[in-house]
Every structure is written in C-alpha cells, then in structure tokens.
C-alpha cells in the first residue's frame, strides 16, 4: 500500500469520524457543516487551481542550480542565513524542496545548513504561504506566524551544530 493511499484513508476516515459526531448532534449540525465545508471548497478551488496549475511554470524558470549553489559547501552562519533565504525562495512542492536539500547534502553542503534550508522551506516557502496559507487563514495570522517563526531555522542549525550528525 502506498503512503499516499494510506494518507487518503486516514484523511477520509477522519472526515467520516467527525461527520458521524456531527450527525449524532442532529441533522441541522450535519447540514450546516456540510454546507459551510462545501462553500469553503467552492471559494478555494479557483485560487488553488491558479496555484497548482501555475506552480510548474514558476518552478521551471527558477533554475535549481542557483539554489543549490547558495547552499554550497560554505559553512558557518552566513551559510545558514543563505540557506534560510533559499528555503523561503524555493518554488514548487515538496519534491522540489527536498530534492534540492538532497542534492545540496550530496554536493557537500553542511548538515546544519541543509537542516536550516529544509526547516526554512517548511516554514516559509513563499508559494505555500501565498497559495495555501493565506487563502485559508486570516492574513494577519499568517504574517504574524511567519514573523515569529523567523528565529527557528537558525535555532535548528544551532542545535544541529551542537549535537552533530549521528
């Protein structure tokens, strides 16, 4: 069984579970939440369509070698800083983010820098922020969240430097 299928099963299983709880609360609760969920879905689809269908083009014009070069074997805090910026600037989905990380690791990038890159990508990748987080969440929350997350790629790199790679 593939991981994607497993995740789909867990996902729809959770939907069914909370749906069942809503159903037990009465038909109005079930109907209201079904209607709200469907309305959210209809509102969100055009934005996601633009993002997903357009992201391939954005990823295609930003050459991956540039980002890997930023991560290069230069170590130290400057490397962590560039890694953090590179992580936030990486376009596209998880395949691209992790592939660049893997290439950087193989090309001799320092593990703390690669950690900073992966964590910065997870926290700030601009495409996910603009296409997923802002449509679903209040914009004020998103900017606030991103701002307080700023120290964490550096903290993770510091922990990585302190404990070393196993």
């Amino acid at each position: 069984m593939s991981a994607a299928l497993l995740i789909d099963i867990i996902l729809w299983g959770s939907v069914a579970a909370v749906g069942f709880i809503a159903f037990r609360r009465g038909p109005t609760v079930l109907k209201t939440s079904l209607r709200e969920g469907t309305m959210d879905f209809i509102n969100i689809v055009p934005r996601i369509a633009l993002g997903v269908i357009g992201s391939g083009y954005i990823a295609a014009v930003i050459p991956q070698e540039i980002i890997t070069g930023w991560l290069g074997p230069d170590s130290g805090w400057l490397g962590v800083l560039t890694a953090t910026i590179a992580g936030a600037a990486t376009p596209g989905g998880p395949v691209i983010g992790f592939s660049i990380g893997a290439v950087a690791l193989k090309a001799g990038g320092g593990p703390p820098q690669v950690i900073a890159y992966v964590i910065a990508w997870a926290l700030f990748a601009f495409q996910r922020l603009l296409l997923w987080e802002i449509p679903f969440m209040p914009a004020r929350f998103v900017w606030f969240r991103a701002a307080v997350s700023l120290p964490f790629p550096f903290l993770a790199a510091a922990i990585a430097m302190a404990i070393g790679k196993p």
Binding site: A3, A4, I7, I10, L11, S14, V15, V18, G19, I21, A22, R25, V29, S33, L34, E36, G37, T38, D40, F41, I44, I48, G51, I53, G54, S55, G56, Y57, I58, A60, V61, P94, V95, F98, S99, A102, P111, V114, I115, V118, I119, A122, L123, L130, W132, E133, F136, M137, P138, F141, F144, R145, A147, V148, S149, P151, F152, L155, I163, P166
Partner: protein, 168 residues
C-alpha cells in the same frame, strides 16, 4: 492572488520563449493531473475544518487552547498538528476553524508549525524517500521543541502588540 497570477503569466511566457509551446503544454498537463489528484483532498480538508468548527465546544476550546491555556495549550496544539492527516488542504482549514472557535494565536501557531515540521504526512510521503531515513529522523528530532517555542514566542509577542486582545 493578482501577484501570483502575474508571476504565473510571466513564468509561463518565459517557458514558452525558452522551450516553445511543447514546454508550456507539458507543464500544463502535469499540473492539471496534479490538480485533479489534489481536489478530493481539498474537499476533505474543507469538510474536516467545517465539522471541527461545528462540533468542538467553544468554551472548552478557549479553555484548553485559548490565551490562558499556558504550556499545556501549546503542547495540545503541537500534538494536534503532529497527528493532523493530509497536506496544506487539511491543516490550514482546521487551524482556521480552531482560531474561529477560541484558540489563540500561540496555540494555533504551535499547531501550524508542528504540522509543517513534525507532521508525519509529508515526512513519510516525500522526505523519507528523497532525503533518506537518517537525515529525516535527525531533522525531526531537532524540530521537536520548535512548535512549542514558536507558540510561546507568538503568545509573548501577541500580548505586547495587541494588549487589548485581537483586533477584528
């Protein structure tokens, strides 16, 4: 939305100039199939968020995830983010639902950061196969304290920026 639209249009034009029309259609077909695959999950995420917003008792959420929930609230948020199934299409609607029913910024930040950093969905589907088991586990161990720290920092900053509570 407009920024992204312009960015996409410019990028598509650049791809067209570089690779011709085949390059453009190749990316379009790939992204269309990706979009088709994601749609049902987006629906599942929206439904999950709506159900959760509807069935969670507001007083209880604001007690356990609200501004006065302390470290426990941050830990609950982080744990919730870590077990959240699915991708951005589930995590963000659910986080938004939690905000709506009384969770504060701190606990919600802990949840979102925990989902991005230690959520198993992305790690199993993408990070393990691409980065390898050693790196992934090492990265996750280092990330463990971060969601609670981010939530605590969020709370600390929030009460100083908005001393009278969140503006609407």
């Amino acid at each position: 939305m407009i920024v992204i639209g312009v960015l996409v249009a410019v990028s598509a034009a650049l791809v067209w100039r570089r690779d011709g029309i085949t390059g453009v259609t190749e990316i379009l077909t790939h992204d269309l199939s990706l979009f088709g695959g994601i749609l049902p999950r987006v629906l599942a995420g929206c439904l999950l968020g709506a159900f959760i917003a509807e069935i969670l008792p507001h007083e209880k959420v604001s007690r356990s995830l609200g501004p006065k929930s302390g470290l426990k609230g941050l830990l609950i948020g982080a744990a919730f983010g870590a077990i959240m199934p699915g991708g951005p299409f589930t995590a963000y609607p659910v986080a938004s639902a939690l905000l709506a029913v009384g969770a504060d910024f701190g606990a919600t930040i802990a949840m979102v950061v925990s989902w991005t950093l230690i959520g198993y969905g992305r790690a199993i589907a993408w990070e393990l196969p691409i980065m390898g088991t050693d790196f992934t586990l090492w990265r996750i161990v280092i990330s463990l304290p971060l969601p609670v720290l981010a939530g605590a920092l969020g709370r600390f900053v929030f009460v100083r920026i908005y001393p009278k509570g969140a503006p609407e």
